[in-house]
Homo-oligomer: 196 residues x 2
């Protein structure tokens, strides 16, 4: 291939195929296997399209979609960190920053900066788009847990108060979705999927 | 849940989880297993972000991304049709139309129309955005086949002339990507991954 720029782009697209092999704690809704990061990212993009009306501030849906599509790529090197794993969170930022350097820099410089910018915006959770993207990212595994009888909550002994504590970013940017989360958590307690 | 609209939206987001269990002919780049439609759709969204500069007409990347994110949802009911399966293509449109009616109509009417509109635009391949989205959809399995020593080409006895014939939509909307496809096909012939 003579086109050096395209060569780098294809190399990056080949490398990120590995995201399909990064497995999460969450099970698929049918409970048959763990979900991987690529599927999860796709699901978040669909959530962004369907649930954007619940954002309490005006958001740019297309920008949110781009963020959720790229947000987990760093986990190819850094691995998935379970949201309730306090120890894993200690060096998460460092591991992921290193991963971002290696992975995004496979791309031509301008695109590396663009994609890294989207990832950093997501990680910092400062803009309203990033907050909404993050809320979807936090909400999706809760829904999966609800529909799989609390699988990863039970496996890791996660309590309802921890779910509420760790995911309250949802309450700021999407109060109606937060109400929904509270409702299914209450139902999960009643059904024995999770302890209060 | 009192909010009937949110209830429909969540039901839809739950239903489309099944896309993660619709497997394609293509193997992952590491050759360990078949790829599913959700992962594939995510990969196309990344390709749209990285390769949009090769579109020969001005395209709306965000619109292309939305289209590739939704384009395969109908396969939850209709199944994946291998692009070289002429018999499967006979009733593909009919099967997928029926699937679209059932699946998208789980959503509130306005959103059902929006998502169905994106899917129809993709299927009709008339707009420049749809042509580019379709080109990516055709290009991705060719790259996967190249990096997995021609796995699904060999499995189904697909010839190089068929790949060129079935995927020429790429040549119209992205000539440089078409050149790249021609280059890797030529290399695939030399390496014995595919017959001319």
């Amino acid at each position: 291939m003579e086109n050096e720029r395209l060569k780098k782009q294809i190399e990056f697209l080949k490398e990120i195929d590995k995201l399909k092999q990064v497995f999460r704690q969450t099970l698929l809704m049918d409970g048959t296997r763990h979900e991987n990061d690529a599927e999860h990212s796709w699901h978040l993009a669909m959530m962004a399209m369907v649930l954007s009306e619940y954002a309490s501030e005006k958001i740019d849906i297309s920008h949110v979609i781009k963020m959720v599509i790229v947000h987990d790529i760093v986990e190819i090197d850094a691995g998935d960190t379970f949201v309730y794993d306090e120890k894993g969170y200690e060096d998460k930022a460092e591991r992921e920053k290193k991963a971002a350097e290696r992975l995004f820099n496979i791309l031509p410089e301008d695109q590396a900066n663009e994609i890294k910018g989207l990832w950093e915006e997501f990680e910092e959770r400062k803009t309203k788009d990033a907050k909404f993207a993050s809320a979807l990212d936090r909400m999706q595994p809760i829904i999966h847990n609800y529909y799989t009888n609390g699988h990863s909550w039970r496996e890791h002994g996660v309590k309802s108060y921890q779910v509420l504590e760790r995911n309250k970013i949802i309450s700021e940017i999407a109060p109606e979705l937060w109400q929904f989360i509270n409702d299914i958590l209450e139902d999960s307690i009643n059904k024995g999927y999770i302890e209060r």
